[in-house]
C-alpha cells in the first residue's frame, strides 16, 4: 500500500491524509450548539453519561415465557439495567405456536408468546413499574402491546407508569427485516393507532423506534441507513399529523435505532449528524416548537453482520470497538453482540461477556466522563458535515419518489441494500476489504469448537401444550370480542381498546392477526429482478 493511495470510508467518502482547521465551517459553533440544546449535535442531554450512563440492554429470548423469564433474571443479576425481548418468528408473524407454519420455529430465535397469560408469565416477579422493557415487534406490535398492558395491570401497575420501547417500525420490515404481514397501508394505520393510543395512555413509553439498523445489517451503507431512517420518521410524522395529532404531542416520544459498525469515525459522525438532521426536520417540516420534539434519542445494536464464524473470539474485539463507537456517538441504550452469533443464538457465556464489555467501556475507560469528546476534531467535524449533506441528498431522492412508502413500493431502498451487500461481499472475496480470520491472517488447521447454545425442544412442546390447555379452558368466551375486533378492523376507530378487550377475554395472537389478515390481506414483496 502506498501513501498516495486514496482512502475512503465504507460509504465512499474520500478521507484526506490530514484535516486542518480550515476543513471546518466557520459557523461550527452554531452547527454544534450545546449538548441538550438544538440542534443537539453534541448530544440529547446537557450532562450525558455524567448524569446517567446509557442503558445496558441485551436482546434476549428463547423457548417459553418461563425460559426467558429465567434469562431475564440472570441478566439483571449480572448488572444489566433494562430488558429487551426477542420474540420467535411465529409471534412476529402472527402464527399461534400450534400451527403448522409455527412448529419448526417455536422458541428458536426468541420467546413464544401466544396470549396475555404468556406475557404475564414472561414478567413474573419482575416489577414493570420499575423496569424499562424494549419489544422488538412490528407487524403484531399492537397485539403484543395489549398483552403487555394486561400483564402490567395484573401486577397492579398503572399503564401510565410503563417505560420502555415498542419497535413498531413497519416500514423497515418491508425494506429489510421482512417480518411484515399486512400490506403497507393498513400496517401504517396500526402504527398510527399505537402512537395515538400511547400518547394519552402510556405517556412514559416510546411507542415507536424508527430504525435504520436492519437496512444497514441487510447491506446498505451508513449514509443510506441515515437517510432511510429520516425518511421513515418523516412518513410516520406526516401520517400522525394528518390524523390530527399535534407534532409536539407525539414527537418527544419518538425514538430511533442505528447500527454501529467498525467504521469508527464515520459511525460517530453519522450518529452526531442524525441528531442535527432530525432537529432541523422537526423544526422546518413539522413546525416543532418544543425542543423535546427535536431531540433525537437512539438505541444502538452494534452490528452482527461484521462478526465472523472464523476465529470467533475476534468478535469480542470487534464488539468492543462498536460499543465504543455507540458511546462516542451519544447512545441512550446499547446492545453488544455475542461472539458466537455467526453460528447460533448466543450462549450464556457469550451474553455475559457482551454485558461485561459494556460495563468495562462504561467504568474503566473514562469515555463517559465528558460530553461529546470528539467535538472540534477537524476530521470528525468534517465527516459529520459530509455525512449530513450526503444523507440529505438521499432524503431528497426518497422525497422525490413520493416519500418512504412510495419508494418502498417501487423497491428503491431494497435495491440500494442488495447492491451494496453484493459490493461488500465481492470486495471481501477479492481481498480488497480485509477481514481478519476470513481473507487475511487465516488460521491453519482446526479451530477450537465453541460450546454453542442449543434451544431445548422441550420449551416448544410445553408452549404447545400450554396453548392447547388455554384454548380448552377459555372455550368460546372470546368470540364476542373477536367479532368486535373484526368490525373495528374495517372501520377508522383506534384498534387498541378492541385488542385489549379481546386479549383480556383470552384471544390468542394468531386469532387476532388472522382477523387483520382477513380484513386487509397479506403483503407479497416485489420480485428481485
Amino acid at each position: 500500500m502506498t501513501v498516495e493511495a486514496s482512502r475512503t470510508t465504507d460509504s465512499g467518502i474520500e478521507v484526506e491524509r490530514i484535516y486542518k482547521a480550515r476543513d471546518n465551517p466557520t459557523d461550527l459553533e452554531a452547527r454544534l450548539g450545546d449538548p441538550g440544546q438544538p440542534p443537539f449535535t453534541r448530544g440529547p442531554y446537557p450532562n450525558m453519561y455524567r448524569e446517567r450512563l446509557w442503558t445496558m440492554r441485551q436482546y434476549a429470548g428463547y423457548g417459553s415465557a418461563s425460559d426467558t423469564n429465567a434469562r431475564f433474571r440472570y441478566l439483571l443479576g449480572q448488572g444489566q439495567t433494562a430488558l429487551s425481548v426477542a420474540f420467535d418468528l411465529p409471534t412476529q408473524l402472527g402464527f399461534d405456536s400450534t400451527t403448522t407454519e409455527a412448529l419448526p420455529e417455536v422458541g428458536r430465535v426468541g420467546v413464544a408468546i401466544d396470549t396475555a397469560d404468556d406475557m404475564t408469565e414472561l414478567f413474573r416477579d419482575l416489577p414493570l413499574d420499575q423496569l424499562s422493557v424494549n419489544f422488538t415487534i412490528n407487524a403484531t406490535a399492537p397485539i403484543i402491546l395489549a398483552f403487555y398492558i394486561i400483564a402490567a395491570e395484573r401486577q397492579g401497575v398503572d399503564p401510565a407508569q410503563l417505560s420502555g420501547t415498542l419497535q413498531n417500525d413497519i416500514l423497515k420490515e418491508f425494506v429489510a427485516r421482512k417480518t411484515y404481514i399486512y400490506p403497507p397501508e393498513p400496517s401504517m394505520r396500526l402504527v398510527g393507532d399505537i402512537v395515538e393510543y400511547c400518547t394519552t395512555e402510556l405517556p412514559r413509553f416510546n411507542p415507536i423506534s424508527i430504525t435504520g439498523y436492519h437496512a444497514r445489517e441487510a447491506g446498505c451503507n451508513a449514509i443510506q441507513e441515515l437517510a432511510l431512517t429520516m425518511s421513515s420518521a418523516i412518513a410516520y410524522s406526516t401520517l400522525l399529523t394528518e390524523r390530527g395529532l399535534r407534532f409536539d404531542d407525539f414527537a418527544p416520544r419518538l425514538s430511533f435505532h442505528f447500527a454501529t459498525t467498525l467504521e469508527l469515525f464515520e459511525e460517530v459522525a453519522k450518529l452526531r449528524a442524525s441528531r442535527r438532521i432530525w432537529a432541523n426536520i422537526a423544526r422546518d417540516r413539522f413546525g416543532a416548537s418544543n425542543p423535546d420534539s427535536m431531540r433525537l434519542r437512539f438505541f444502538s445494536g452494534c452490528s452482527g453482520s461484521t462478526l465472523t464464524a472464523q476465529q470467533p473470539l475476534n468478535n469480542v474485539v470487534r464488539s468492543t470497538v462498536q460499543c465504543l463507537g455507540a458511546v462516542l456517538g451519544g447512545a441512550q441504550s446499547i446492545h453488544v453482540m455475542g461472539y458466537d452469533e455467526a453460528m447460533a443464538i448466543p450462549s450464556t457465556d457469550a451474553v455475559t461477556l457482551a454485558l461485561r464489555t459494556q460495563q468495562i467501556v462504561a467504568h474503566e475507560t473514562g469515555v463517559a466522563d465528558t460530553v461529546d469528546p470528539f467535538a472540534g476534531s477537524f476530521f470528525v467535524e468534517a465527516l459529520t458535515d459530509e455525512v449530513e449533506q450526503r444523507a440529505l441528498e438521499l432524503v431528497k431522492v426518497i422525497d422525490d419518489s413520493g416519500g418512504a412508502v412510495a419508494a418502498i413500493e417501487a423497491g428503491i431502498p431494497q435495491r440500494w441494500i442488495a447492491e451494496n451487500a453484493f459490493r461488500i461481499e465481492t470486495a471481501m472475496a477479492d481481498g480488497s476489504k480485509v477481514k481478519v480470520g476470513v481473507n487475511a491472517y487465516v488460521s491453519e488447521g482446526d479451530e477450537d469448537e465453541l460450546e454453542l447454545f442449543e434451544v431445548d425442544e422441550g420449551g416448544r412442546d410445553s408452549q404447545v401444550a400450554r396453548l392447547r390447555q388455554h384454548l380448552e379452558r377459555r372455550g368460546d368466551s372470546a368470540s364476542a370480542a373477536l367479532v368486535a375486533l373484526a368490525a373495528g378492523s374495517r372501520s377508522d376507530e383506534n384498534i387498541m381498546p378492541l385488542l385489549l378487550d379481546a386479549a383480556r377475554a383470552g384471544a390468542t395472537l394468531g386469532e387476532m392477526s388472522d382477523i387483520f389478515q382477513r380484513a386487509w390481506g397479506t403483503y407479497k414483496e416485489p420480485a428481485l429482478w
Binding site: 418468528l89 421482512k178 464464524a309 453460528m343 447460533a344 451487500a421 453484493f422 428481485l528
Partner: protein, 138 residues
C-alpha cells in the same frame, strides 16, 4: 454444460426473513452465467419443489438463519424425493452450527455453506453440481 446455462433455484423456506445471503448468492450466480430463479421469502417445501419442477432447475439453493434448518431441510428433501427429483441436488447456506453440518449431509444435502464461506467457493460448487446433474441426465 457449456452450451446450456446452469439453472439454479434460490429460496428461503420457513419464516426467516434474513435474505442478505440469498440475494448475494443469486447475484453472484447470475454474474457467473447461471439462470437464477429467486423464489423469495416464506416459501413452503411444496412451492419450492413445484417451482423446481416447472423451471427444470439443476440445483436448489436454500438459505436459513433461524435455527430451523434441520426440520425444514428434511421436509424439503422428503418433498423432493416424493416427486422423484432425487437428481436435483439441494444446497444450504446460513447460520449453521458446525455440529449440524454432518447431520445435514447425512440427510442428503449436497453441500452446506455456513456463514463465512468464501463466495467464489459457493459459486464454483453450485456450478459443479449443476454440471454433474447435466452429465448424469439420461
Amino acid at each position: 454444460m457449456n452450451a446450456v446455462r446452469a439453472r439454479v433455484l434460490i429460496a428461503k423456506p420457513g419464516l426467516d426473513g434474513h435474505d442478505r445471503g440469498a440475494k448475494i448468492i443469486a447475484f453472484a450466480l447470475r454474474d457467473a452465467g447461471c439462470e437464477v430463479i429467486y423464489l423469495g421469502l416464506r416459501s413452503t417445501a411444496a412451492e419450492i419443489i413445484s417451482a423446481a419442477t416447472s423451471e427444470d432447475v439443476d440445483v436448489i439453493g436454500i438459505s436459513l438463519l433461524s435455527g430451523a434448518h434441520l426440520f425444514l431441510t428434511s421436509e424439503l428433501i422428503e418433498e423432493r424425493d416424493r416427486h422423484s427429483l432425487q437428481r436435483v441436488p439441494i444446497v444450504l447456506g446460513g447460520i449453521i452450527p458446525p455440529r449440524d453440518i454432518e447431520v445435514l449431509l447425512g440427510l442428503g444435502v449436497a453441500a452446506v455453506f455456513p456463514a463465512g464461506t468464501n463466495l467464489p467457493v459457493i459459486v464454483q460448487r453450485v456450478i459443479d453440481l449443476a454440471s454433474e446433474r447435466r452429465i448424469d441426465a439420461p
